[in-house]
Amino acid sequence: MKHMLIMRATADAVAAYEEMDFETVINAMGAYNEAMMKAGVMVAGDGLAPEPGYVVDFSADPPLVTDGPYGEVHELFNGFWIIQTATADEAVEWAKRCPLGPGSKLEVRRVTDETDFADYADNEFVKKEAGWRDELAQP
């Protein structure tokens, strides 16, 4: 199963992070990433640039596009990993090893797979697939 580790930091944690020696930060994160690579669990991962991007708000029609997120959004989403493990506990155990400090949080969320859509039998794509059920043969 795959999990996404979503890194969030409060503004204070971001400020504290910026005080740190960047090389030290890179080395710590590099060692963490390397450990997950060597263990064969790392599928993907990236950091998100610190400057605000854009927010597309679907409360309006057409959606309203603004710069952001800003200010009152204290919990900034600033990076992610996707890791593949045998259990959710193992994903949590990897998350605990991330070199982050106070104010930072890692959210561990399962990535959906094909088994998650069993309840959507009326969906046209699911129906399309159901049509194949009788097509039994060699791969």
Partner: protein, 415 residues
């Protein structure tokens, strides 16, 4: 923390640290079976201690320290029993005082020892999943669809065999490196293929087993980054795994390549597979070598993965790749697959000649593969009566009910 929480935490830690802990202990003691036993005692102690005392800050070091104490205890007992071991035990006890630093070399020794040729294939698979994969016997039993007691028996037998054969905890000598590495890779690929098209159980694919093999493959590629074959095996597994979501119907039945919804293929996984194949090619080129069997199979899988449809697949290239594969790893199954590719690239008549040669040589006798391919080719050539007979023959040879139904339907459609 409840005992159940502790058990889950221990399993998670073990999965991450277990292989390195066992590897370090085996290096220290020179005995993989003993190392695994003391590591299990450390796990048992964690299960007893953690609910009361909480999870220690450095779980891996905690488990290793406990296991090392058990090793020294065992040595002391042994010393009393047999004075001749005293000097050896003394030296080893001193070595234990060294700072524990898990190193890749130990992990590599672990992999080669778990896949040692003295062991049966079943024992190699069980021991590798246990000590390298860090899976519990319950998890292994669930993945392999065998009783827990069977897995335990295979692991126990493996440890006894290693001890009886005095297998050293070492990587192989250069003279046997190639062969031993092939052995390790074939254990990993066997685990994968069982997940790719399961020979037992209700489902056609078993993603958890395939993913475990992929993880082991990635670990190997990390340990042996200069070996082309490790990257090639990862490439092959990534590319084959990318199609799982489209290969199986909701009822667990296989879906033909031609009928698969290619939008459901995992493009990220395909990209990783292609990158691994390029890495394998680069490492092979650096040694002045050509593609090995895994790289050729990965290249064939790549042709399928990048093609928008069966019609737009580069079948000429696939034919060339199968020819190369047939030269370095000749087998009737490869030859039959080449015939299928030839039928797509050139036409059924040329392909039929290849299949007829295989039949004349008495290959694949008893397997439904040959008559089912021959039936397809004859049908495309308009030789309906002969095609029907081949499909009926193939149907009589298969033990799989869905496959038999399909072959019988194909025969009936030719009436």
């Amino acid at each position: 923390m409840t005992p159940a929480d502790a058990a889950r935490a221990v399993d998670a830690v073990w999965r991450i640290e277990g292989a390195r802990i066992v590897a370090a202990l085996a290096r220290m003691t020179g005995d993989l079976g003993f190392a695994e036993d003391v590591a299990q005692e450390a796990v048992a102690e964690a299960l007893a201690s953690w609910p009361e005392n909480g999870i220690p800050a450095n779980t891996g070091a905690w488990l290793t320290a406990v296991a090392k104490r058990r090793v020294i205890d065992a040595w002391r007992r042994r010393e009393r029993l047999d004075k001749r071991h005293r000097a050896i035990a003394h030296d080893l006890a001193e070595a234990v005082e060294d700072e524990w630093e898990p190193i890749d070399d130990d992990l590599l020794r672990l992999v080669f020892t778990a896949c040692h040729p003295a062991l049966s294939r079943e024992s190699q698979v069980a021991l590798t999943l246990r000590v390298v994969g860090g899976l519990t016997t319950v998890e292994i039993a669930r993945m392999l669809l065998v009783p827990v007691a069977t897995v335990q028996a295979r692991i126990t037998r493996a440890k006894k065999t290693l001890a009886a054969a005095h297998v050293p905890f070492e990587t192989p000598d250069p003279s046997e490196w190639r062969q031993r590495l092939d052995g390790v890779l074939s254990v990993v690929y066997l685990v994968f293929t069982e997940g790719y098209s399961a020979t037992a159980g209700e489902r056609w694919t078993r993603p958890d087993l395939a993913d475990e093999a992929l993880r082991l493959g990635r670990v190997l590629a990390g340990l042996l980054p200069r070996e082309p074959a490790t990257h090639a095996l990862v490439a092959l597994m990534e590319l084959q795994r990318s199609r799982f979501a489209a290969r199986e119907s909701r009822t667990g039945a296989p879906i033909l390549l031609a009928d698969q919804d290619r939008s459901r293929w995992d493009q990220g996984q395909i990209a990783r597979g292609r990158a691994a194949l390029r890495r394998a090619d680069a490492e092979a080129a650096a040694r002045g070598q050509g593609r090995g069997a895994y790289a050729l199979q990965a290249a064939i899988a790549e042709c399928h993965c990048v093609a928008p449809s069966v019609e737009q697949t580069d079948w000429e290239r696939i034919v060339v790749l199968y020819e190369a594969l047939g030269r370095i790893a000749p087998s009737p199954v490869v030859e039959l697959n080449r015939a299928v590719a030839v039928s797509m690239a050139t036409g059924p008549a040329t392909a039929l000649a290849i299949v007829d040669d295989l039949a004349a040589a008495g290959e694949l006798r008893g397997s439904p593969l040959l008559p089912s391919v021959r039936g397809e080719l004859l049908a495309r050539l308009g030789r309906a009566a002969e095609a029907r007979a081949e499909f009926e023959e193939a149907a009589s040879r298969t033990a799989s009910a869905p496959q038999r139904a399909l072959l019988e339907a194909k025969a009936a459609a030719l009436d």
